[in-house]
């Protein structure tokens, strides 16, 4: 006979149900200690201001912890997208959320006497929905197992812990289904079919076993399920699964000010003895430490890292994991260490001889911020790298020799190119470009055209700034340059870790700009742009600064520049990191590309916020790298793969890096050692990860050049 109302008996056939409540106590204590143990460590960290703007923070948690926005984004590896990674995670998470809700329903019904587990709700939610979502967990686990044990993508870390977690989740979910199925079988549950998976198990089991056997098996497996689940809950906080708690926390405390705010301002006046930079885990902030405990070991950052992809030893994931291990191994030191600031030997030294935390690896970072862009839990890898660089540069004066030369040159002559024979005004030859110091009333000038060292002192870029200057003249913009008085604004010094030099340079520049009453700056260099926009305000300089792409785009919108002779070639645009990822300017340069050509404008596999660095940021453009590990070649291959004949860009560093990269990949115009190593008609297979492109000519052009060429007034070229 069918009972009047659908439900099931909680604790049916379970001997000693009270024992479950007893076991709950150690579970909560052990699991709780696991979390508290982490919290204690974070609290030893130094201060960080992350409590402001709570609404924005909650919204971020909603999007990226609950909604898993970043987890679901496609992950990239070697320029190719992979997507299965995020699906399994979503299945498991959503499945577990629903299972947890089901457990809560049971608790409310049984322990709090609410009697809600009945009727339609019982059938539709507690039976059908829960059953299906439980099945999703199993599917998710299946995908994860295939990935981890069969596909083995290199971005994962292969630990026993990770495998054990998969097995544990599988056992928990599968045993749950067995318990359900055998209950349905043994009780001839009339509502059984509402739990399709359980019902299938019931039918299958009844075919091979007596109901009485299943009753016994049910009791045994019920307890097994209970014990395994409790053990799992107690253990999870000690594993990377702690991210269930730490990830939302970390996302809540994320850096809301964009990648450019990665570098903490330093106070050189404050404390004479404080170590400059960070070489000691005990000197990190609480947010740094929370970061470490939030890592899910997903490896997205390392897969996105251009240096890593190019075969170097840098790996942002392993930096985070290395520091995390250091934090837990040194827990006692952390808890004991008084936050004193003397330059004694570090209590928990960060730098290692080899591996992810070696100086060698940390110097390979181009500061492209791709790692932070993809991290699903908003871990900030770059500040940690740069803090150690600050230590190396400022406390130890230890850096790669070519960077040291660039730094010395910055110090002495305000540009990073020792030995250049070019002067800052060579590019102006034949153009009538006003120079501030020669004007009667520099205050009258609307716009300072900030040229930048890499534009003025690398010959290839002269035509970029010539195009730009002529476009400005053509559009009737009142502008002037600083000419010989211009000095590096300090970006290179800052990214190489010399904050002191950066501040010195920034102060000098501010004094100079003040002298000429400069308020508005336009620059063809994204690094200069970013420095004026985001770094100078931290040292007291506030300017209205624009990258030439957005400035030109406005002139085009206003009809002051018209494209009358657009070209026919296909152009793909390479987003400079400091323009795109750092300052979210993706559209203006594309708009300029669009109007400069009638051809196609295909996108590279990785573009916009997923753009792949040219390899030149962070001082790396001043170094000589092993040919087979050059990031620019990777990017050049991606550009060539679009079939375009022109790569557009908007950065003097990208310009030279990409030109070299294209030349090396196509064997078109062998440059430096490419000439020796790469014969024009064959490429050694191991020197390029992507297949060799057909030797097709491709040129690199700045958006200003493209636009100027398309403007009728351009007889210049």
């Amino acid at each position: 006979m069918m009972p009047a109302e659908a439900t099931r008996e909680i604790f049916w056939n379970v001997p000693f149900p009270w024992l479950m409540y007893v076991l709950l106590v150690p579970t909560v204590v052990v699991g709780g200690w696991g979390l508290y143990r982490r919290l204690r460590l974070w609290r030893t960290g130094g201060p960080a201001m992350r409590w402001d703007r709570p609404k924005e923070r909650l919204a971020l948690v909603w999007r990226h912890a609950v909604g898993q926005g970043r987890t679901l984004r496609r992950a990239y590896s070697s320029g190719r997208a992979s997507s299965s990674s995020s699906v399994f995670h979503l299945l498991i998470t959503v499945g577990f959320v629903v299972l947890t809700m089901a457990t809560t329903v049971v608790m409310l019904d049984h322990d709090f006497g609410t009697r809600i587990m009945r009727g339609g709700f019982y059938l539709f939610f507690q039976s059908l929905t829960v059953d299906l979502f439980g099945a999703l967990v199993l599917v998710g686990i299946g995908i994860a197992m295939i990935r981890r044990w069969l596909q083995k993508p290199s971005r994962l870390v292969f630990t026993d812990e990770a495998s054990a977690i998969l097995i544990a989740i599988f056992v928990v979910a599968a045993s749950g289904f067995l318990v359900e199925g055998w209950r349905i079988a043994a009780t001839h549950d009339p509502w059984g079919p509402w739990s399709p998976i359980g019902y299938l198990i019931a039918q299958g089991s009844l075919a091979v076993a007596e109901p009485s056997t299943l009753t016994t098996a049910h009791a045994v497996v019920w307890w097994g399920h209970c014990v395994v689940t409790f053990a799992f809950l107690a253990w999870a906080p000690y594993t990377k699964l702690a991210h269930v708690v730490t990830a939302p926390l970390n996302i809540f405390f994320a850096n809301l000010d964009g990648h450019a705010a990665s570098l903490r301002p330093m106070d050189f006046e404050a404390d004479d003895d404080a170590t400059l930079g960070v070489d000691d885990l005990t000197k990190m902030t609480w947010k740094d430490l929370l970061d470490l405990d939030s890592c899910t070991e997903c490896g997205r950052c390392t897969a996105a890292c251009p240096a890593h992809t190019a075969g170097k030893s840098l790996s942002p994931r392993d930096i985070v994991l290395g520091l995390r291990d250091l934090m837990h191994d040194g827990a006692e030191t952390l808890l004991a260490a008084p936050q004193d600031d003397t330059d004694n030997a570090p209590a928990l030294p960060i730098l290692q001889q080899t591996g992810a935390l070696s100086a060698e690896s940390l110097w390979q970072c181009t500061t492209c911020a791709a790692c932070m862009e993809v991290c699903p839990v908003y871990i900030e890898q770059l500040p940690k790298i740069l803090d150690v660089r600050r230590y190396l540069t400022m406390e130890e004066a230890e850096m790669p020799p070519s960077m040291a030369d660039a730094m010395t040159s910055l110090e002495r002559r305000g540009h990073p190119y020792p030995g250049t024979r070019l002067s800052r005004i060579d590019w102006t030859d034949g153009l009538d470009v006003p120079v501030m110091s020669e004007l009667d009333d520099p205050g009258e000038v609307d716009v300072l055209l900030w040229v930048g060292c890499a534009t003025a002192l690398i010959e290839r870029n002269h035509s970029v700034v010539r195009s730009l200057a002529q476009l400005l003249q053509h559009a009737g913009v009142s502008f002037a340059i600083l000419g010989r008085e211009e000095r590096c604004n300090g970006d290179a010094a800052r990214r190489m870790g010399n904050e002191f030099l950066f501040e010195t340079m920034a102060r000098k520049n501010q004094a100079l700009l003040e002298r000429y009453g400069v308020e508005k700056i336009v620059t063809p260099c994204p690094h200069c742009f970013n420095t004026f926009k985001n770094d100078y305000p931290t040292v007291g300089g506030d300017y209205h600064v624009e990258h030439h792409s957005s400035f030109l785009a406005k002139l085009v919108d206003d009809g002051r520049i018209q494209s009358t002779q657009a070209a026919e070639h296909n152009v793909t645009f390479h987003d400079p990191c400091y323009l795109g990822r750092y300052n979210r300017e993706f559209d203006a340069p594309r708009q300029l590309v669009q109007i400069s050509t009638h051809g196609r404008t295909p996108e590279m596999e990785q573009s916009r916020e997923n753009s792949f660095c040219c390899g030149g940021g962070g001082g790396l453009s001043f170094t000589e790298e092993p040919a087979e590990q050059r990031v620019n070649r990777q990017r050049a291959s991606q550009a060539l793969a679009t079939g375009a004949s022109v790569v557009g860009t908007g950065c003097p560093f990208c310009m030279t890096m990409l030109e070299d990269g294209v030349a090396a990949v196509t064997g078109d115009l062998p440059s430096d050692d490419a000439a020796a190593k790469i014969p024009a008609d064959s490429m050694p297979a191991d020197s390029m990860p992507a297949t060799r492109m057909p030797a097709k000519r491709m040129i690199v052009k700045d958006i200003a050049e493209l636009l100027w060429d398309a403007t009728e007034a351009s007889p210049d070229t």
Partner: protein, 264 residues
């Protein structure tokens, strides 16, 4: 070991050629927007001194003769870990006269104490006269060894290795002595640590007005600067022609021979 290193501040010799201009009237280079730097050979001297101190202990005093801006040079030396610094303020210091410079340095050195080794750079990157060291030794009445690339202390004596046209010479000298240092791969100036740069600004710096050195005005200088000019350089580019590589090489060789003959 008590060491004095003389440091000269000069106009950055590495500025691009087109930024370099001279003032024929004043017979000097126009500063323009060029930066002032420490003369590189003086930095080699300082590095040599620092290495000597690292190995054998000692005290390094740095001395500069220049304008107020020369303080930068001394601060940088302090950042590299020189112990004391003194500046002889003299607005005429930029002039080329090595005898005058040597007299000022000698008087300042006497005022500052007694030194076992006085080091100067081989020559300065601006005028390149290269005589201050010898004249300084003369003024002080001590021996002089030029173009030194290495020195070591051995039982109170100095073992000094100097470069010659044909090789090296090694001297053993009892201090005091004046030596001029040349560049070698072992005395590239070190990069100071930022911490030390910051500290350098808080270290004391002795300033001496040149008038306080009670030098008798020199009318006897053997050195007079008559005129300066920038040499005109002309570059012409010629392309040799030919249908294939061999012909072009031939044409090229002929042309080179022709030019060699006409200029001989």
């Amino acid at each position: 070991m008590n060491i004095l290193v003389c440091l000269k501040q000069i106009l950055d010799p590495d500025i691009p050629a087109r930024d370099f201009r001279i003032d024929p009237e004043r017979r000097e280079a126009v500063r323009g927007s060029a930066d002032l730097v420490t003369n590189i050979f003086c930095e080699n001297a300082l590095e040599t001194a620092l290495q000597l101190k690292d190995a054998h202990d000692g005290m390094i005093t740095v001395l500069s003769h220049g304008s107020e801006e020369a303080e930068d040079v001394l601060r940088k030396a302090l950042a590299m870990k020189a112990d004391e610094a003194a500046l002889v303020l003299d607005d005429d210091a930029a002039q080329a006269d090595p005898l005058q410079a040597a007299r000022v340095l000698a008087a300042a050195a006497r005022k500052l104490g007694s030194f076992d080794v006085i080091m100067v750079g081989r020559e300065s990157g601006d005028w390149g006269v290269g005589q201050t060291g010898g004249l300084l030794a003369e003024e002080l009445g001590v021996p002089f060894i030029a173009l030194v690339e290495h020195l070591d202390v051995d039982e109170g004596k100095l073992r000094i290795r100097r470069q010659t046209d044909t090789g090296t010479e090694i001297f053993e000298v009892t201090p005091p002595v004046v030596i001029s240092i040349t560049n070698s791969e072992n005395n590239l100036p070190r990069i100071p640590k930022t911490r030390d740069v910051m500290k350098s600004y808080r270290k004391p710096l002795t300033t001496i007005a040149v008038a306080d050195l009670s030098l008798t005005p020199s009318s006897d200088s053997y050195f007079r600067l008559v005129e300066i000019s920038v040499p005109e350089k002309e570059t012409r580019c010629e392309l040799v022609e030919g249908h294939n590589l061999e012909q072009r090489i031939d044409a090229f060789a002929h042309r080179v021979a022709e030019i060699a003959n006409t200029t001989r």
